[in-house]
Amino acid sequence: MDSLSEQAFLVLAALADQPRHGYALVTEVATMSEGRVHLRASTLYAVLERLTGRELVEHDHDEVDNGRLRRFYRLTDAGAAAIRTETERMTTQARAAKRRLARRDAQAAPRFGVAG
C-alpha cells in the first residue's frame, strides 16, 4: 500500500471515531495537529478525492444546515487498517529515533575518571 501523506493520515484519523463533514474535519485536523495543520477547503477535497478513490473513506449521509449542504464521510475497514499500519510505522520510527537520541545523550555526558 502507498504511504499516506500527513494530511491524508490526519483526515483518516479524524474520521476514526465517527463520521464527520468537511468543516468538522478541518477543525478536528487543526485540533489533532495542535494548530499546525489548517486544511484549505480545496486541499481537503483533494485529500478526500484520493481517499475515496482508494476506498479508505466513503460517503455516509448528507444534511442541510442553515441552507448549507454538509456531506458526511466515514472510515471504511480498509481505512482503519491503513491508520493502524501507518501508526505502527510511525511508532517504530519514533522508537528508533528515540533510541539513537538516548545513545547520543549518553555519549555527550561527562565521563568522570577519564583523563585527557
Binding site: Q7, G22, S42, A46, V47, E49, R68, L69
Partner: protein
C-alpha cells in the same frame, strides 16, 4: 443570498462542470463555514479554489500533450527529407548537382534519423525512437559535415523530451494510419515551403501601425472585462492589454514563420489539427480521464 455566497458561487464556476455538479454545493457549504462572518472570500481559500480548478482542468493535458508531441515529431521528423527532396526537385540548378550529390549522404543520414524517430514513435516503438535519436546525435558529433551547433542542442533537447515521454508512457493516439498519412503530407509540406520560398513570397511581417491597433483593441477588451473593478485594477488591466496586444501577435508570427522554430510550429499545429480532425471524424478522439487527477501531496494545507 449573502454577498459571500454570491462571490463564492462565481468562483466555483471555475471548476469543471462535472466536478461542480458532483461537489459544488458541498464545497460551497464548507467555504461558507470557513469564511463565516466575511463578505468577501479570504485570499487563502480563493487561491486554493483557483489552484484546484486549474489542476482539475489540466486533466485534459496528457491526451492533448501526446497529440501535440506526436505532431511535433512528425513535423520535425519530415523536415530533413522534405528539404532534401526539395533540393533535388528545384532547389538547385542541374549544373550544381555534382556538388549537391557530394553532400547528400551528410544530409540524408540526419534526415533518415529524424524520419526514423518519428515513424518509430508513431508505431509505438518508443524506446527504439529514443535510441534512433541518440544515434542521430552521435552522428552529428562524429560527422563534421553534418555538425551544426544549433541542431546539436535541438537534438539534445529532443532526446530529453523523448526520455520524459518514454518514462511517462506517452503514446501516439490511434489510429496510426492517420499519423502515417500525416508523415507523407508533412514531407510534401516541407517540399512546398521550399518551392514557395523560391517564388518571391516572403514571410509576413507585422507593420508597427497594425501592432499598435492590436494593442489598443486588446487594452479596450481588458478594460471592458475589468470595468466593474476599482480604478487601479482597470489601469493594470489596460496596461496588460497593451503589452499583450503589442507583443503576442509578432511573437505568434515569428513562431509560425520566423526565427523561433520557423515553419516547424506551423507544420506541428497543422498536423495536430489534421489528425485531431481525422480522429473526430472516425470517433477516435482520446478520452479524458474518468476521475480528476489529484494525486501527489496537496501541499498547501500545512501551516498558515
Amino acid at each position: 443570498m449573502s454577498p459571500l455566497e454570491h462571490r463564492y458561487r462565481r468562483l466555483l464556476r471555475l471548476l469543471p462542470p462535472e466536478h461542480r455538479a458532483a461537489r459544488g454545493e458541498e464545497f460551497l457549504g464548507l467555504l461558507l463555514d470557513l469564511d463565516d462572518g466575511r463578505t468577501r472570500p479570504s485570499a487563502r481559500q480563493a487561491l486554493g479554489l483557483i489552484g484546484l480548478a486549474i489542476r482539475l482542468r489540466l486533466t485534459w493535458l496528457p491526451a492533448t500533450g501526446s497529440v501535440l508531441f506526436s505532431a511535433f515529431l512528425v513535423a520535425y521528423g519530415t523536415m530533413g527529407i522534405g528539404n532534401l527532396i526539395d533540393d533535388y526537385t528545384g532547389g538547385y540548378l542541374s549544373n550544381d548537382m555534382p556538388m549537391v550529390r557530394h553532400v547528400t549522404p551528410g544530409l540524408l543520414v540526419p534526415g533518415l534519423v529524424q524520419l526514423g524517430t518519428a515513424v518509430a514513435w508513431i508505431l509505438g516503438a518508443r524506446r527504439i525512437a529514443l535510441a534512433v535519436e541518440i544515434g542521430g546525435l552521435a552522428y552529428f558529433i562524429v560527422e563534421p559535415m553534418a555538425a551544426d551547433l544549433v541542431m546539436l542542442f535541438f537534438d539534445l533537447a529532443l532526446i530529453c523530451l523523448l526520455g520524459v515521454a518514454v518514462r511517462r508512457h506517452w503514446t501516439t493516439p490511434r489510429p496510426r494510419s492517420l499519423w502515417l498519412a500525416a508523415v507523407v503530407l508533412a514531407v510534401l509540406a516541407w517540399k512546398g515551403i521550399g518551392a514557395w520560398g523560391r517564388h518571391g513570397i516572403y514571410y509576413p511581417v507585422l507593420p508597427p501601425r497594425v501592432g499598435w491597433i492590436l494593442a489598443a483593441v486588446a487594452a479596450a477588451i481588458a478594460v471592458g472585462l475589468a470595468r466593474r473593478r476599482r480604478p487601479p485594477v482597470i489601469v493594470v488591466a489596460a496596461l496588460i492589454g497593451v503589452a499583450a496586444g503589442r507583443i503576442l501577435p509578432p511573437v505568434a508570427l515569428q513562431l509560425a514563420y520566423g526565427q523561433y522554430g520557423g515553419w516547424l510550429t506551423t507544420i506541428t499545429v497543422g498536423t495536430a489539427i489534421l489528425v485531431s480532425g481525422g480522429m473526430l471524424l472516425t470517433g477516435r478522439l482520446p478520452d479524458r480521464p474518468d476521475r480528476p487527477v489529484l494525486s501527489g501531496s496537496a501541499g498547501d494545507g500545512t501551516g498558515a
